[in-house]
Symmetry: C2
Subunit: 352 residues, 2 copies
């Protein structure tokens, strides 16, 4: 079968041939429909993130997948169920995080990530997965199911952010999303119950992401004009800040952008970078204004289920504008391109 | 009546004479028993924190009080009820924080703090307080009721820290307290259900605080030998870190000391201080290890009630070791002394 993989020593993905996978006991065989591409894939391809499976000369890419159960193999699924797979798998032997059903809370050295870190991904005509790592979604979502994984990332982050404010009567009204990539835009669309929303980017108009930001009713903030550290003064202190830039200065600046009692969800993964900060002001502001910062990575099956419900509610125009390209395996290089007209792309292996 | 106050332009508290206060409608008159002294009082006296009440030439000190209701004045209290007052009062007019019963969540410019910031404290023979700002405690706690306020600070911080971990199955086993002052020691005593506890200080043995740390079953960590940033490697990454030092570098270092899925409660209030940090490592670690930081200040009536229950459970030897001095108003200067034999002191105005 065809698979899209990164081979050791190469700097671009290629279509390779792999044998059809055979489901082990407890696993189902899934026929892949579409697999989304995100910034993590580009980091993996660029060598900044992730690792090859042990002893293998390639890594099958892709962690945002939707497919159809081809062979339930005795699991709770039926043939033709539409499913999305969660990303993490246990390393050699299991551990408490997997036993408790919370692999998303595992530290990096206690999990593998399919398509990213030490385990093959889903960019192949078929893949297998343990039943507990597959989430059934409505058939109507089959063409868009590759958006469930990124949405689930935000479902988890926002769940944890809200939990951190659950010890008092928190009434958030304003939200700031840092980053106008696909994750930032998906999150902005999720925050439609906020009175006022803002989205930070670094792009000139005309720009398709700015168009989406504004059509969602949010205010576009150009961080070249208004750095995040100045946001609260120039606009308003935000009850919720969602950071999806991976810009190292944004962790501390997120706190400065928060309103009293607010929470910042951190999702970006920057490299090491030493710089000066007023650590006293950061610390004092966190304390005197009861602020919280919550880091969040990955997501679990419950977050996938919440994400599927959310996906069904997102406006059609938004999805149409967000998904800028779906390509076949004959044109896979284009799926990984990233120019100013690209927002979200996917590789299509089959249709239902 | 006698009151212990800081007069404008002076750098030491003095006993002054004030008229007996008259309770307004909705207020009770309280006869003061004891008022505790803490680091905030020393900062107020040193001019580093707080402010005088508007138009006044002095500030009555003290925010950790216990007293007996002298005149219920039509409120829900009875004469001779033992009560502790919460600290925050609304500024001119009320605001949503007070209306919702959550003044502890108000930002600094939306509240006054009795004995600290813009409102007279409780270090006088009598004080008045709105009934909703008084918490009845058992009579048996009357001599120690001045410890309810500092305990309530930790009750709130720990409540918020746990809330931040409530979206998953958090099972904390190890806790690190930064600071061996009274608040650090009280918190260490509260964390008696942890398997392993650590307390960071900067003192040489023999030292009474180190003795308490060890008698509580905790490990004393000298930060001159093991800086907080090295704690996780030298000892173990902690599930809960409670910061009560006000050392600006400890906000970011708290994150480094945390285990995956851990939470750091920040309570110290440092001054501005710009220094270099690896903001990339901090940010990445927060995200990849699902860590949280929660700032917390002040406390509400529910936290006072929880603190009173906690106080009743603390071992007698611990309280005896913690409270190193109780002085009368004739010897008030000694209550504010702070040497290596001082842990917690209080000014006594009366006994039940």
């Amino acid at each position: 079968m065809n698979a899209v993989a990164l081979r050791r020593g190469e700097s671009a993905p290629a279509v390779i041939q792999k044998p059809m996978p055979e489901p082990a006991a407890g696993e189902a065989l899934v026929r892949t429909l579409r697999v989304g591409v995100d910034g993590t894939d580009r980091e993996v391809i660029g060598g900044a993130h992730g690792s090859f499976p042990e002893g293998e000369d390639h890594l099958v890419l892709g962690h945002e997948a939707v497919g159809v159960v081809e062979d339930p193999n005795g699991t709770r699924f039926s043939a033709s169920d539409v499913v999305t797979p969660t990303v993490r798998r246990p390393p050699e032997g299991a551990n408490g995080y997997f036993e408790r059903g919370e692999p998303d809370m595992a530290p990096p050295d206690m999990c593998l990530e399919r398509g990213i870190d030490g385990a093959h991904g889903f960019m192949s005509e078929y893949f297998t997965s343990p039943a507990e790592s597959l989430v059934r979604i409505p058939e109507s979502l089959a063409p868009l199911g590759f958006l469930v994984e990124p949405l689930s990332i935000s479902e988890k982050a926002i769940q944890h952010a809200y939990a951190s404010r659950s010890a008092f009567d928190w009434r958030p009204e304003s939200a700031l999303v840092l980053g106008n990539g696909p994750l930032g835009l998906l999150t902005l669309a999720m925050l439609d119950d906020y009175d006022r929303t803002y989205c930070v980017g670094r792009r000139d108009r005309p720009d398709p992401t700015i168009d989406i930001v504004e059509r969602l009713g949010a205010t576009y903030v150009d961080s070249r004009e208004t750095p995040v550290r100045a946001f609260a003064v120039e606009y308003e202190a935000a009850d919720l800040v969602y950071e999806a830039t991976g810009h190292a200065k944004h962790a501390v600046e997120t706190a400065a952008a928060l309103a009293p009692g607010g929470v910042g969800a951190l999702l970006g993964v920057p490299e090491s970078w030493t710089f000066e900060v007023d650590g006293g002001d950061f610390h004092k502001d966190m304390v005197m204004n009861n602020k919280a910062l919550v880091g969040s990575v990955n997501s679990g099956a419950d977050h996938f289920r919440a994400a599927a419900e959310r996906l069904a509610e997102l406006p059609e125009w938004f999805i149409d504008a967000l998904v800028t390209r779906v390509v076949g395996t004959d044109d896979v290089a284009r799926a990984f391109e990233n120019d100013e007209t690209t927002i979200k792309t996917a590789v299509e292996f089959d249709t239902r």
